[in-house]
Symmetry: C2
Subunit: 331 residues, 2 copies
């Protein structure tokens, strides 16, 4: 296991200490394991909370800040945060206007966020839960009933965050979050597995000349094991799967080519060139591209492609200023 | 070779097409292999040009934009750009106030930039060349006479870019670039090798329980092969080496924990926590931290630590607005 860590049991705690030291704009509570905007709570603002297993950085903690999340609750690596932790994050940012919990569709996350929402309601915080389930690769998985939540989580958090920042109410913020999820699809490809520190062994085995099409962000199985292929064919497989589920012809789209953690930026740009070619050749117009490692899976090599069919309102919210460690522009 | 590419010979061309498609703020010339600010040339502004082998993205092309570089000349992977290409980048951004060429200290880069500078002078462009040689690990290497240029290149490009943006003259911009280099040191550690696409084989071999202390950004040998060790000990080795060369006690520092391309962000934060502890325990004050993969080495796993002893003027220039694909804040 080649990892830059101290001890497997300390990875999340150490990383949180690092985030706290690196980002004065965040308030990190190592005991409760919460990451909160330093200016929270903001009275009258709908609070956006997300969370999930660690190992996907900068998701979610790196998306806490102006114009995006108010708080994140990071669990152990690839393990859901617990309800009390999510509740602590929620109460820390409660501005009296209710809270939207953005939950990737994994069984543990869904259960624990549901319990946290009930606990928050007991404290008179109105909660709307928004499920993200954008991954078209598989209908159910080892971690999921229904589709998995993956790359589009970034879109949901950014766009709902912009609307919440503008002063919109709870129903509107939850509504736009659901709209973004409904208009988004993703498909991931792994060139290598990853190793959960506490396990010490790769999540799966992949031959030197094999790739996994439709991989999940925890290394859970995808749709198909295939022979290694050129980037343009990887992209074709991914976009064909997305297009079959949500036709892209005629759409104006936001596209993310997302590095999975172990694939360098030069390869992500190679993939993006193929994505731009494919979409142009299939009648879609990329109006907002994004390339980088935003929703990672430890050191897994590969990429995920996420597409959102924009509307003028969604484009405007995407463009709105954001200032977080992981995403920042225009302020 | 697990890479998301089409063909080894096409990697740089494909990645440049991807950058062009993803970043309308850049003007990418695939024929001359130059990346130029869309608003160049800016009359009366000192032009900042850098370049070097590809495989270190976002360096250098991703640092082209407001407040940083005017142009970059990317060579083949780990291979110097050629003089004509550097000249093309220089003439494309020449605003009549001279050009500063920021050159990492590798033999090929030094020679080719020297020739490009002579060609530019022939076209009446005054050129100042600034050599970056911040890596304390080795005095000479397979690629170098003298110390290698590594992570501090980011500091030099950002700070000199801010001064150039403010309207300073050629001597002042070159002067601050040299000052930043003189006040900066770096030390890298590899947990895995990387594979140049055209070679198809790893740049070196590393046992499953081995790391390379003092690695270069091309996988060239470092100072010492060692047994795998906890992140805190890796950081101690790196900062002890830097501190022995440039004492850090009492300094106010800018610190970069730089992912080498294959190490995920969660591990970079683990390393940064140890960096913050070490510096605090040795009398240094971190006034500006930065964590992320900025000067990469393809998919190499590991990190590099770069430290710059700031002055109030350098801090102000570091904080100045920057808007590039790879670094962006405050505008």
């Amino acid at each position: 296991m080649r990892k830059l860590i101290n001890a497997p049991a300390d990875v999340v705690a150490d990383a949180l200490r690092g985030m706290a030291a690196a980002h004065p704009s965040l308030r990190v509570d190592p005991e409760n394991r919460t990451i909160v905007r330093a200016d929270a709570p903001r009275t009258g603002k709908v609070a956006l909370i997300s969370g999930g297993g660690s190992g996907h950085e900068p998701l979610h903690g790196g998306f806490v800040g102006y114009g995006m999340l108010d708080a994140a609750a990071p669990g152990e690596v690839f393990t859901s945060p617990v309800p009390d932790q999510i509740l602590a994050a929620t109460t820390a940012v409660n501005g009296g206007a209710g809270a939207v919990m953005i939950v990737k569709n994994y069984t543990g996350d869904v259960l624990n966020f549901r319990m946290a929402a009930e606990l928050a309601e007991d404290e008179d915080i109105e909660v709307e839960t928004v499920l993200v389930n954008d991954d078209v690769a598989v209908e159910d998985s080892t971690f999921t009933a229904g589709r998995r939540g993956t790359g589009a989580t970034l879109f949901v958090e950014k766009i709902a965050g912009a609307l919440a920042e503008s002063g919109a109410d709870l129903a509107a913020v939850a509504g736009v979050a659901r709209e973004v999820n409904e208009r988004s699809r993703s498909f991931g490809v792994a060139l290598s597995p990853c190793t959960v520190p506490a396990a010490g062994e790769p999540t799966f085995e992949l031959g030197e000349d094999e790739i996994e099409l439709g991989i999940g962000i925890h290394g859970e199985p995808g749709r198909e094991r295939a022979k290694a292929m050129p980037a343009a064919e990887v992209v074709d497989a991914a976009l064909t799967a997305i297009d079959a589920d949500m036709p892209l012809s005629g759409a104006e789209v936001l596209v993310l080519v997302n590095g999975m953690g172990g694939t360098p930026l030069i390869e992500q740009y190679v993939a993006y060139a193929a994505v731009a070619d494919w979409l142009g050749g299939h009648g879609a117009t990329v109006v907002r591209p994004l390339v980088g490692p935003f929703v990672t899976s430890l050191e897994m090599a590969g990429c995920m492609i996420s597409v959102c069919r924009l509307t003028p309102d969604l484009t405007r919210l995407w463009d709105a200023p954001v200032e977080t460690p992981g995403l920042r522009w225009g302020r």
